[in-house]
Subunit: 292 residues, 2 copies
């Protein structure tokens, strides 16, 4: 078995792990996300002392994920100014001298779910994280979606739910999915964090309507074989039946497929139980090693 | 050069053509779409007498386009009851005994634009037709998007434009892109067909707002390297600058890419001048022959 390193590079913390091709994680560490100079040197050192054969990185966006892009592996325009245009993948390539796979955090989580989780063996899958933000990782015909950049499907415009007069918390958009439905939107609207509102039915009634707006758009755009919903907000498991039922109601019979007829197995929780990012990064590292 | 047949199977007419791998069309015919028994036999005979080496078909949906689906090549649930579950691809395979490529009309048009048109050489492209309906053909990482079914991105929910009180003409949805912005929606709202309203600025002001809602959602979901807009409604060329400007306004600087900075070359008309469906079908036929 090869020793593979995994990095989940998030805006507030970095999760590091060591594992193998089969998805067994043997060691794990978290460090706060500070500046590239400080925390990348520390991460490189952590992996160097553990002698990895390859590495996979799932990074916060926007970032250049298309291997044919000269900026491949760089963080792009970001409010975190210290990271702007930082060559994150390059730092690990130079520091470790092993094959390094690289993609967005949500694409990597999607890959984790396809290889190890709820979407095992499928080739058209959407993974949505609903947490401090909303992001979608997308696999189409077996390939993670890149393009001009990568999906930024958390920022699609959604119709405001009648009666909801909350301000959209996205600084860019008047009424986008993330700005109306991510964790900070819930806290802004109700004055408390989601987990403190678990027993307030009206909170999840409204939240599930916005989630169904996003999910039905993803069903129509991506035609996935399965949609996996993860992230902190989805720990409120009462959301799943509501989102399923409202998504079907919004589609209103327009699409007739065996998958939608079995909606409980179509819109599902992550099968990796929170480890989809780390497991997907291991798989990315495995693939980078295999392609060497 | 091989002789390749092309079929654009539409709801009202079938366009048949003969051409070669390089996209030269040498003969063309149109017949009305009646019942499968009548018009498919006629089409098979037309190609048989012309001795084609392969065939490509772009079909109206919903239809099974995933080659691993046992229903591959069948028309699925459709209001055109005579066509429901009809094995369109199978009829040509049996009748002609040549390799037959098969996909949706819009995926085929997208392929035509990638191989011969405005999106030449790109691998992440969205082709949108805005005509009697709205449909999106999508290429991701070089592959046409299939999945549970195929994209049905014309039916995404869009926010109603303030002040527009027109009824959505889609029988399934209260306010979907197609129901608010396709040709029949224009006619329903203004009492005349689009081409009769060419000089009415308010028509195109409103139409372009809905188009920008759809296009900005596609940009965020698919991250295409280019978006090609075709179909009858887009013959109103005054729409292009309006859609470009409004799409940028809706994205509001959230995405920073060289492509969006060159918006005139990002949201573009079809380069095949209406022949994207036929040329894409030729390419599908070429690929089916090459894969034989």
């Amino acid at each position: 078995m090869a020793r593979i390193g995994a990095v989940e590079a998030g805006g507030t913390k970095m999760v590091l792990a060591i594992g193998d091709e089969a998805g067994h994680v043997t060691e794990r560490e978290e460090i706060p996300t500070t500046t590239p100079d400080d925390c990348v040197a520390e991460m490189v050192e952590w992996f160097r002392t553990r002698d990895v054969d390859a590495l996979g990185i799932g990074a916060f966006g926007p970032t250049a994920v298309n291997p044919s892009d000269p900026r491949f592996g760089q963080i792009l325009e970001t409010p975190k100014t210290a990271w702007k245009y930082y060559d994150l993948r390059g730092a690990f390539v130079r520091g470790l001298n092993v094959p390094v796979g690289y993609d967005t955090d949500v694409n990597v989580a999607c890959l984790g779910e396809v290889v190890f989780g709820s979407a095992k063996g499928l080739s058209n899958v959407v993974y949505v994280t609903i947490g401090t933000g909303i992001g979608a990782g997308v696999m189409v015909e077996g390939n993670l979606l890149h393009g001009m950049l990568h999906a930024e499907a958390g920022h699609i415009i959604v119709p405001r739910v009648p009666g909801d007069d909350a301000t959209c918390v996205c600084p860019y958009h008047d009424c986008c999915f993330e700005g109306m439905a991510a964790g900070p939107a819930i806290e802004h609207r109700w004055g408390k964090k989601g987990y403190e509102l678990a027993d307030r039915d009206e909170v999840w009634e409204l939240e599930s309507t916005y989630l169904a707006e996003g999910v039905s758009t993803y069903v129509l755009c991506y035609s996935p074989q399965k949609i996996v919903l993860g992230g902190g907000v989805m720990k409120q498991e009462q959301l799943f039946p509501l989102v399923r039922q409202k998504t079907l109601k919004m589609l209103n019979g327009y699409l007739v497929t065996p998958e939608l007829q079995d909606i409980d197995n179509y819109i599902v929780p992550a099968g990796c139980g929170g480890d989809q990012g780390i497991l997907g990064s291991l798989e990315l590292g495995r693939r980078a090693l295999a392609a060497k």
